[in-house]
Amino acid sequence: MDGDVPMNAASEGASKQAVVYATDYLNKLSGEKIERECKTRLQEGCDELILNFSQTELVNSVGVSILLGIIDSAAVRGARVVFSDVKEDTVELFDMLGVTKHVSLRES
């Protein structure tokens, strides 16, 4: 939500593991950017996608539905998805929508 935070999902890492940073507001727009980034990484052969939510303050249901799409795509390719640095309120929201059943949560 802070205008200074870049909206592009950033990523780093080598062939096996990729870290993708979610922005402060996870919605359709930013979710699709993350999705594109994740798909690129998966196509490059990444087998563990780490989505970092350290900057994420607000999440909406459309953004969550995109995350589930990313989890599906990863599963098809045999990759696993990890959510890192998720704020407590966001964890509760992911729980409500059943997202946490499909991913591991971790602190970086």
Binding site: M1, Y25, N27, L58, V59, S61, S65, G69, M96, L97
Partner: protein, 733 residues
């Protein structure tokens, strides 16, 4: 309120649209159906307050909602011309309504069968008493004399109830119309006698001004609807008629017709038939002027005057005479002077004055009168005068009427705003009731030293510890000064300057009698000596005029008083307080707990567009910061708010592309209403149950909102959807 869905029978409104009279209606209904036995009630109200509609609603409810009591409603009507005809109609109406009730055929009442046909419709177990009454109805003339016929017929429902083994509940309305009937008083006197007998249950309805023998075990004065109920009524009535009216216009309309539903509805009816939108003061006043000059409002007053003076030349003379009295400061005039001016016989004039008094055109008292304090009546008299002097030029009269009304509109509304913001001095004084209170709640000097600058909670705890106490008097009666002295009306509002009369102790002796003059005065800073002096002199003058030599003055100014002003008040044995003190005093008198604060409302409209919901979220964050909402609740509300906005943006096909949010915040909760125009939620295609893949992952928004908030209501309104979300706020740990 009843939720019956049947169409109204005698009532003019569906019960769900009958606003603001639930308490009176429930009380009368319970009285009718309970086994409390007999006892009559006299229900009176000012013209146009809806007293008759209340009685018709009572009848409908008794007709549809119970089977034990046979209801009967009769309204005295000037068209009956004589008491005899009115009585014959009364008898017929009773037989008709009783058969309709016993057969549970409401349609029978409107079909108005003749008396011979009615007899054939009576249920088998009612044949005997109905036949007897039908015979009485069929008689061309009274069997003995007119008075005996009237007496016997008016008590027929009770004889019938004895014969038929049921209980009758009789409602006789509009008794004041007796002034328009030949021998009308006989009808009323006989009715009153019957109502006074044991074993009868009668409600007698009349205008407040109509005087009749006190018979009723109970008298209910139906007050005009309070402002809020009347504003609600105006909004509902406009919506029902499809009148396009905004909030400003609604408030002006509610003020103009204050508490008179009949005139309000006539006005809105005109807006519908003339297809006039009421979106500005100008549109309201244009229609109002038109209606006064040549529409329903004018007809209403013309009809009243026509009953008093049927001859047009006499009527015009009456208009002119009354117009000149209001032009002359509306001073009282001698009735005999008016009679001479009109040149009518004393007996005709007496009847004329009776009618004008009952219709609330004149306030009559011991040989003198003045035009009632009624802005619409005054506007009518001015319009009629202008119409007669601008012969052939209705346009000129219309222009004058509408410009004058427009000039007055902002003042009328401003005066209402001031009234709304007033402390409510009358109630405050009546709450005194000999209570011991900390002196700093009245004495501004002590308040300034001990309490000023403290937060509300700090002030409360300081007040609880304060040692210096005083005992307030017991106020037996408190009323605006203008009620005692009408010329005091300017420049203050009625409720802002009050006289309270009572006792300093409970001995209730002459010696302990006290009089307080209390007034709320305006000053941006601490009120200074000269302003205070002006008010003290003013109130002393009022006291002199009213003969109160011993009195105390209590002034309240928003920011309190300067030292010089306080010294002046102290010399008089009076007090000066700030508005904050008065609010704390009220709180203290009500048990020390803070008055339940009203909700604060915030409104924001956002365009539907990329991430515009974040604007709403930011606005809410500011609100949450102001009220120190717990962070967890804030996050949950933000998510729910975003979901509600997405819902509106994605599915509504909104024609104006806007989403409106209203945040209502009080100490216990926040209520958020998100609304938009466009496709209603109920009209949209549901998510397919068999949806798979991406489809299955959508449509969670409403479920999420329900999980995050404490209460959620989703309503389809005429042109869109409204989601109301409530979150209970628990204080931060």
């Amino acid at each position: 309120m009843s939720t019956r869905t049947a169409k109204p029978l005698l009532a003019r409104k569906h019960p769900d649209k009958f606003v603001g009279r639930d308490a009176e209606l429930d009380r009368l209904y319970l009285r009718a159906v309970s086994d409390m036995g007999s006892g009559s009630i006299h229900l009176s109200g000012r013209a146009g307050t809806g007293t008759s509609e209340l009685l018709r609603q009572l009848y409908d409810r008794l007709f549809f909602e119970q089977r034990f009591v046979v209801p009967f409603y009769y309204s005295l009507n000037s068209r009956d011309a004589t008491a005899y005809t009115a009585t014959a109609n009364y008898l017929y109406q009773f037989v008709l309504q009783a058969i309709a009730f016993r057969r549970q055929e409401p349609g029978l009442i409107a079909s108005a069968p003749d008396i011979c046909e009615l007899e054939t419709l009576s249920p088998i177990n009612d044949v005997d008493w109905i036949s007897r009454l039908c015979k009485a109805c069929k008689n061309e003339g009274p069997l003995n004399d007119e008075r005996s016929f009237i007496r016997s017929s008016l008590s027929a429902p009770f004889r019938a109830s004895f014969a038929g083994g049921f209980r009758a509940f009789v409602i006789v309305d509009d008794l004041h119309q007796s002034v328009n009937l030949e021998n009308g008083r006989v009808f009323v006197d006989e009715m009153v006698n019957i109502a006074g007998r044991s074993g009868t249950q009668i409600v007698l309805g009349s205008r407040s001004r109509y005087s009749m023998k006190s018979i009723a075990e109970q008298r209910i004065d139906v007050e005009r609807l309070d402002r809020k109920s009347f504003v609600d009524l105006a909004a509902t009535a406009a919506a029902d008629r499809g009148v396009d009216m905004n909030e400003q216009s609604r408030d002006l309309v509610a003020l103009k017709f204050a508490g008179r539903p009949r005139l309000l509805e006539s006005f809105l009816e005109a807006a519908t038939s003339k297809r006039v939108a009421l979106q500005s003061y100008r549109e309201v006043e244009r229609l109002y002027s038109k209606e006064l000059l040549e529409g329903g409002l004018g007809t209403y007053f013309d009809d009243n005057f026509a009953r008093a003076a049927s001859e047009p030349i006499l009527r015009q003379k009456l208009y002119e005479a009354l117009y000149h009295t209001i032009g002359n400061g509306n001073e009282r005039f001698r009735l005999e002077t008016l009679r001479e001016r009109l040149g009518v016989r004393p007996d005709i004039f007496g009847r004329m004055i009776d009618i004008l008094s009952v219709d609330e055109v004149l306030d009559v008292n011991t040989g003198a009168a003045q035009v009632s304090d009624d802005e619409i009546l005054r506007d009518f008299l001015i319009a009629r005068h202008r119409a007669s002097t601008n012969i052939g030029s209705l346009a000129v009269t219309a222009a004058q009427t509408v410009t004058n009304a427009l000039k007055r509109a902002p003042k009328l509304v401003a005066s209402d705003y001031r009234r709304g913001a007033a402390l409510g001095m009358t109630e405050l004084l009546l709450d005194f009731d000999m209570q011991r209170v900390p002196r700093s709640l009245l004495d501004y000097r002590l308040f300034r030293e001990n309490l000023k600058g403290l937060s509300a909670s700090e002030a409360r705890s300081q007040i609880a510890k304060e040692g210096e106490q005083m005992t307030l008097p017991l106020v037996a009666h408190a009323a605006p000064i203008v009620d005692h002295l009408p010329e005091f009306g300017e420049p203050t509002e009625p409720d802002r300057a009050v006289i309270a009369v009572g006792f300093a102790d409970r001995s209730y002796s002459d010696e302990s009698e006290i009089v307080w003059f209390a007034a709320e005065i305006d000053s941006k800073l601490e009120a200074d000596y000269s302003l205070t002096r002006e008010w003290v002199d003013r109130l002393d003058t009022v006291a002199d005029k009213l003969g109160y030599s011993e009195h105390k003055i209590w002034l309240i100014a928003p920011e309190g008083f300067s030292d010089g002003a306080l010294d002046l008040l102290a010399e008089q044995g009076g007090f000066g307080s700030s508005r904050k003190q008065a609010q704390l005093l009220r709180e203290f008198l009500h048990g020390g707990s803070p008055a339940k604060s009203e909700a604060y409302e915030y409104e924001i409209v956002i365009p539907i567009g990329e991430e515009t919901e974040l604007i709403a979220v930011h606005a809410f964050e500011e609100i949450a910061r102001k009220y120190a909402f717990p962070p967890k609740a804030v996050n949950q509300i933000k998510t729910a708010l975003v979901e509600a906005c997405i819902n509106a943006a994605e599915h509504s096909l909104s024609p104006d592309g806007k989403i409106k949010q209203r945040f209502s915040v009080d100490e216990e909760k926040v209520v958020i209403i998100v609304s938009n125009r466009g496709m209603r939620l109920t009209d949209r295609m549901p998510i397919r149950p068999e949806a798979e893949g991406d489809d299955k992952r959508r449509g969670w928004g409403l479920g999420l909102i329900r999980s995050l908030m404490d209460e959620v209501r989703i309503e389809s309104v005429d042109d869109g959807t409204q989601i109301t979300m409530v979150k209970l706020i628990k204080p931060s740990a």
